[in-house]
Amino acid sequence: MKFKCKIVSRGYAEGEALVSREHISFLGGVDKDTGVVVADSDLKGQSVAGKILIFPGGKGSTVGTYVLLNLKKNGVAPNAIVNRKTEPIIAVGAVIAGIPLVEVNDEVFFEMVKTGDRLRVDAKNGYVELIK
């Protein structure tokens, strides 16, 4: 099933979904060497490495722009990020790190998608596909 999206950081990725329901700026709470979420959230203890990371959005992040770049450099970055409404610092961080980032403005998508689902993020043509 395909969902239209707004392209924020261009690229293409496939992978397994890791879904957070929380509106938090947890990127500051990800260990840059392991990619494991250390901040209190529903993803605590899980690794974002190689995942399609899905969360509603940021909460005015105070973390630096280079967080995602550090994850990428250490080989533990997510393959792509899907937000409902993203936040500029995360967006710019994604561009610099070369990680595709899109916004999906569709409740159905967020209701359907579960951790472990297979996803295709096409941030060139503007769609996210739920493969299951």
């Binding site: 707004k6 392209i7 924020v8 950081s9 261009r10 005015g60 630096g64 722009t65 280079y66 770049l69 550090n70 450099k73 409404k85 993203t86 936040e87 500029p88 610092i89 967006a91 710019v92 994604a94 561009v95 610099i96 980032l101 916004e103």
Partner: protein
């Protein structure tokens, strides 16, 4: 977001630097629902300290191959480029910091190393600019009437290389209207520190009960942006756009009083960097008395050389006047126990960034503390 044909071409450029910079502007524009880009007349970049950007950031900056298209200035570094040894800066830190500066220089950025670029070259009223130092952003919007959003460091760099920035927020006149009336009493820097937490992202309309100096407004704005998210304020009868909008009906009062005491072993002035007028005021307050404690002033190299006679007199009284850095971004402050400041911004950042205790006093009190020993 609408892009012109030329902008589209840049977004798909063979040149990776141009493409990346354009992608950054589009990302910022899309997330803020900007309708288009707007040409800028200057850029100011933050994120200069090696501490701050780390190896990954440095590597990314080194990968950029291009030149800025508009006059672009750079925020303070972690040390005085000439007198770093005197500040107690290590050889290692010096070398890493110089690497960062070389990268910016290669891109055509002016290595002015100041948070007060408006004392070097003042933007004109109504000009669109892309600035990334929170205190300078408030100053430019409020006191000058130039227009900038709160740009992130790499965003301002990307804007400088493209010569444009996304058109949203404070670039649009109607978004510059005040949202709350705030009556201020007492010390402005203290009021800014207290007010920032309360006002968050409001655009305050200030009413003062006495005459205020330009540098007091600077300290107020810097403190608001440090403890909160303020990007602009209006001041009744003072700032250039104060009459352009309806006066907000919601009213609050803030009293600028900060009780923070410890026995200072260092007293610092210059967050943001001092103006020539502030240097003269300090000299006047000292009134020929020598300082008996470490008393450091931070200013830009330009103000320093313009006011060389004042600086010389200050230094004969035992004051140290440093350039290129400040008490917040330099690790030099770390070896002290208690640092006294007249800045709400330094008051906000010193405990977390430099692990020192802070005492607060107005400029006069800072000077008296230094001479009493």
């Amino acid at each position: 977001m609408y892009l012109t044909k030329e902008e589209e071409r840049m977004l798909n450029s063979e040149n990776e630097t141009i493409r990346k910079c354009m992608e950054i502007l589009v990302a910022v524009g899309e997330t803020n629902d900007a309708e288009r880009l707007v040409e800028i007349t200057s850029a100011h970049i933050s994120g200069v300290s090696y501490d701050n950007i780390g190896d990954a950031g440095l590597e990314w900056l080194e990968s950029l191959d291009g030149r800025v298209r508009v006059p672009t200035t750079l925020n303070p570094a972690g040390m005085d480029l000439k007198r770093w040894r005197e500040m107690g800066i290590s050889e290692d830190f010096y070398e890493n910091q110089m690497k960062v500066l070389e990268v910016f220089e290669k891109l055509g950025v002016e290595i002015v190393l100041t948070c007060t670029p408006y004392y070097l070259s003042r933007p004109k009223f109504g000009e669109h600019i892309a600035w990334a130092e929170s205190s300078a952003i408030v100053y430019a919007n409020s006191i000058i009437g130039a227009r900038t959003n709160r740009e992130c460091g790499p965003c301002a760099l990307a804007a400088a290389i493209i010569g444009k920035t996304p058109y949203y927020g404070l670039h649009i006149k109607e978004n510059r209207a005040p949202t709350i009336t705030v009556k201020i009493k007492g010390n402005l820097a203290a009021a800014g520190y207290i007010g920032g937490k309360e006002l968050k992202d409001e655009i305050p309309y200030f009413v003062f009960e006495r005459e205020v100096e330009e540098w007091e407004l600077k300290l107020l704005g810097a403190a608001l942006a440090a403890s909160g998210n303020t990007v602009m304020f209006h001041a009744e009868g003072i700032t250039p756009e104060w009459e352009d909008f309806e006066k907000p009906s919601e009213k609050i009062e803030i009293s600028g009083e900060l009780k923070a005491e410890c026995e200072p072993d260092l007293i610092t002035i210059g967050c943001p960097h001092t103006s020539g007028q502030e240097l003269e005021t300090i000299l006047k307050l000292l009134d020929g008395r020598k300082v008996k404690k470490e008393f450091w002033i931070f200013t830009s190299r330009k103000v320093f050389s313009e006011k060389r006679d004042v600086v010389k007199k200050l230094e004969t009284l035992g004051v140290k006047v440093f350039n290129d850095t400040c008490m917040v971004v330099s690790p030099a402050t770390q070896r002290f126990e208690c640092v006294m400041v007249n800045s709400g911004k330094a008051f906000n950042y010193l405990p977390s960034m430099r692990k020192v205790n802070v005492a607060f006093g107005n400029l006069k009190r800072c000077v008296e503390e230094a001479v009493k020993g």
